[in-house]
């Protein structure tokens, strides 16, 4: 296991540190443990006492398929609680390859200068980054790539520099574009508050990760990879259509939030569906299937071109298409793609930004469906930091307050993703209770009954939503600690040997004797650590609630309000 590279932005010093009590942790388990132990919960998220942690998972930089996630953690300026978000791209493997389990950014510079960090096998340097000030992520990455060659790049755009709550952290992809983002919770603002524009990671000449039992690792990594490839979701559905394939399905289920969560079905869903996206990518010679990080066998990303065959954006995903599509009443994929590109370039979370524009549409700032004004809001106002741009860049809750909108679909300050909890009530339990605020990935891993976290849940019992959500969140927290893409959870759900392969690979790599129970225990520990931080930051069970209008306003077509009672939600943490 590696070391922690501590970068102090207060005195601009760098210090490799032993893992110490964090040994055995990676990914989300490590980011959340460091934040919970080292960051005062009541500190200002943009002040000197907050830290930003970047960590590859425990399996990252091995031959384990789809294990290249880079996890970022801090106290969130959007929610005020603990935050973990992760991204694909090429940087996680390079960090792990250099022998680091985490990079920790600490302190705050005494001046307002912009800086960048260069990390290689032999040295870590901090130096001025004035020439990159106000640049979008695309231009920043292109310049850094030209200067440093084949490197991993973590960067922020103008939104992060402005320390906006909806700002993201970008990671360059296999094509050296800044399209992979740890987007949720405003982590870009924390990086911006530390005066850091970019971290360049060059792993040339690095020793790589040690594998204790190479043959055993190879055997189980093949079982894991085969499991992903033979499963109909990861082996076929996702590579064929990407995540956008969900548009039609969630719409059919009546759970596709439309026009700021005022309807569960979007009448033009077919125009923005995954099927339509795939046809468009083929017709315009983009890529309907694409790899977001080295070693990914799922290939759910895509490359979207304009009608003349020129690149617009990459990784046009379900949540983004929903956020700017159905939720803003925009049924033109070209416009959605342009909005996605702007978010990647400015460094904004597409879910929060799409949700915010929908709130602004409801508040009368622009009409629903006005893509032209939406594009201008991002490209002119947010990018350049106009007053209205700063409001939009601060997220849905702030924008709702400014515009007097009461229907703001947020929990703990974070806008909901693309599933209406009045149609699919179980996701509402996760939105309400997640330590991260409204987050669909918090309970995304679905290995519950195989992992038997918290016992087997009877599928015929309708009252199992809280229990299921708890199990899902425990399983997710564990999978997030290994650097695995959450989509690996589908074969893990259906194929016991694929799940077994995860801890068998860990055992082979580190010489451990982990069992399924250890993985479950890790997930529980991560959740409790995060919950404890949030409690010390002032959160109570009253924050584990959905917004008021979802209890009062029935959603078509099922005409349901959110029905899970407060006392049931409070049962969540009884484990």
């Amino acid at each position: 296991m590696g070391k922690i590279l501590r970068i102090n932005m207060n005195d601009l010093t760098v210090k490799p540190d032993e893992l110490g009590e964090y040994a055995g942790l990676g990914g989300r388990a490590l980011t959340s443990s460091i934040i919970a132990k080292e960051v005062p919960p009541l500190c200002h998220p943009l002040g000197p006492n907050n830290k930003l942690v970047a960590s590859p998972g425990l399996l990252t930089s091995t031959i384990a398929a789809s294990s290249g996630r880079c996890h970022f953690g801090c106290k969130s300026p959007l929610t005020g609680g603990i935050k973990e978000g992760n991204a694909g791209g090429v940087v996680a493997q390079k960090i792990a390859h250099l022998g680091y389990s985490a990079i920790v950014l600490e302190g705050k510079p005494k001046d307002d200068k912009l800086r960048m960090v260069f990390i290689s096998k032999d040295k870590t340097e901090i130096f001025p980054a004035d020439e990159y000030k106000d640049l979008g992520n695309y231009e920043t990455v292109a310049k850094l790539r030209e200067k440093y060659g084949k490197v991993g790049i973590i960067s922020i755009g103008p939104a992060g520099e402005q320390k906006l709550n909806a700002s993201s952290i970008a990671v360059n992809d296999m094509d050296n574009r800044p399209t992979r983002h740890a987007a949720r919770g405003g982590q870009g603002a924390v990086m911006g508050s530390k005066g850091l524009k970019a971290i360049v990671v060059d792993d040339t000449g690095a020793d790589g990760v040690e594998i204790k039992d190479k043959d055993e690792f190879k055997k189980w990594s093949k079982i894991f990879s085969d499991g992903l490839l033979k499963h109909p979701v990861t082996g076929e559905g996702l590579p064929t259509y990407g995540t956008a394939v969900l548009i039609n399905i969630i719409n059919e289920a009546g759970g596709l939030p439309t026009r700021n969560f005022s309807n569960g079905q979007f009448e033009h869903a077919a125009n923005i569906s995954g099927e339509q996206l795939t046809e468009r990518c083929k017709e315009r010679k983009g890529k309907e299937t694409h790899i977001c990080s080295p070693g990914c066998v799922i290939r759910c990303s895509n490359v979207y071109n304009d009608k003349d065959g020129n690149y617009i954006t990459s990784g046009l995903e379900y949540e983004t298409i929903w956020a700017f599509g159905a939720n803003c009443n925009i049924d033109d994929l070209d416009m959605v793609a342009r909005l996605d590109r702007l978010c990647d370039d400015i460094g904004l979370d597409t879910i929060e930004t799409g949700g915010t524009i929908a709130v602004a549409m409801e508040g009368g700032l622009l009409p629903f469906g006005d893509w032209d004004r939406a594009i201008k809001l991002l490209d002119e106002d947010v990018r350049n930091g106009t007053p209205i741009g700063k409001i939009i860049g601060s997220g849905a809750v702030v924008t709702g307050r400014v515009l007097g909108v009461t229907r703001v679909p947020a929990v703990k300050g974070q806008n909901m993703p693309a599933y209406d909890p009045r149609a699919i009530q179980g996701i509402g339990v996760t939105y309400a209770t997640s330590t991260m605020g409204a987050d669909h990935t918090a309970g995304y891993a679905i290995a519950t009954n195989i992992m038997k976290v918290g016992g087997y849940v009877d599928p015929l019992k309708p009252e199992g939503q809280v229990e299921l959500s708890r199990n899902l969140q425990i399983a997710t927290a564990a999978i997030d600690s290994y650097g695995l893409c959450l989509f690996t959870a589908f074969p893990v759900l259906d194929q016991p040997e694929t799940f077994e392969a995860i801890y068998r690979m860990l055992n082979a790599q580190y010489g451990l004797n982990l069992t399924a129970d250890d993985i479950t225990e890790l997930g529980k520990k991560v959740l409790k650590t995060e919950r404890d931080f949030n409690t010390r930051a002032g959160f109570t069970n009253k924050d584990d609630r959905l917004p008021e209008f979802m209890y009062q306003e029935a959603l078509a077509p099922h005409n349901q309000v959110f029905l899970v009672k407060d006392e049931e939600l409070d049962e969540f943490w009884n484990f």
Binding site: V233, G237, A253, G255, E275, G426, H440, Q465, L472, Q560
Partner: protein, 226 residues
């Protein structure tokens, strides 16, 4: 197609030449001749929004798919893993009965927590309990023919759509006009041969004929892969 997943059609079904609507008389018929690649795009346009089928109502979804539409039982069980009846996810297709005017949507396995939740018989079904289809009946009660609205998504669209379209689906004439005028790309219209009631025609003439034929709200649309 993944190993272990069968072909979409039951044995011999590919040789069935009779239309699905052989029992319908006096309905105008549009036959479009298209290449295989353009046919894929046409199916995508048609089946995502849905087409009309005249089927024996009172039958279970399983009966409809396996008997009336001649889909292979293993394919239905393994491949069509997500099914909605009137926007409600269905778990047991042998006990979910189709009524006239129902909307049936078919999909393969979907990603994500919610994708898994919506699957037939998912152990995560409690998460969507309030919208789950529950009006199950033990026996089919096959009645007369009725119109249903059928939507196909993702892999099912690709695999079943062309077969159904070759046998013929019904559409309201306004939707046909919308399809030909506004939705079809140049790729399709450029490769298209159209026959209206057996007579070769063009898009403008077809739409004109449809508009003037006010007595018939529905038309039969068939595909011939050239």
């Amino acid at each position: 197609m993944n190993s272990g997943t069968s072909k979409p059609l039951s044995r011999g079904a590919e040789n069935i030449s009779r239309p699905l609507f052989y029992y319908m008389k006096d309905i105008s018929e549009i036959e479009v001749h298209l290449s295989n690649s353009a046919n894929r795009e046409l199916c995508s346009l048609l089946f995502q929004s849905g087409v009309l089928l005249k089927v024996q109502v009172g039958a279970s979804i399983k009966n409809l798919l396996c008997e009336q539409l001649s889909l292979d039982k293993t394919y239905v069980d393994k491949r069509i893993s997500t099914i909605f009846l009137n926007s409600q996810p269905v778990d047991d297709i042998s006990k979910a009965i189709i009524k006239s005017s129902d909307t049936l949507a078919l999909s393969s396995a979907m990603p994500g927590l919610i994708g898994a939740t919506l699957r037939r018989g998912s152990h995560l079904a409690p998460l969507r309990d309030t919208i789950t289809f529950k009006e199950y009946r033990n026996n089919d009660d096959i009645q007369a023919y009725g119109l249903i609205h059928l939507k196909l998504f993702n892999l099912i669209l690709q695999e079943v759509g062309p077969f159904l379209l070759q046998r013929g689906v019904m559409m309201e004439f306004e939707d046909v006009i919308e399809l030909f005028y506004n939705k079809m790309s140049e790729k399709i219209t450029g490769a298209l041969d159209i026959y209206f009631n057996g007579k070769r025609t063009g898009i403008n003439e077809l739409c004109k004929d449809l508009k003037s034929n006010v007595g018939q709200k529905l038309v039969l649309l068939k595909l011939k892969i050239s």
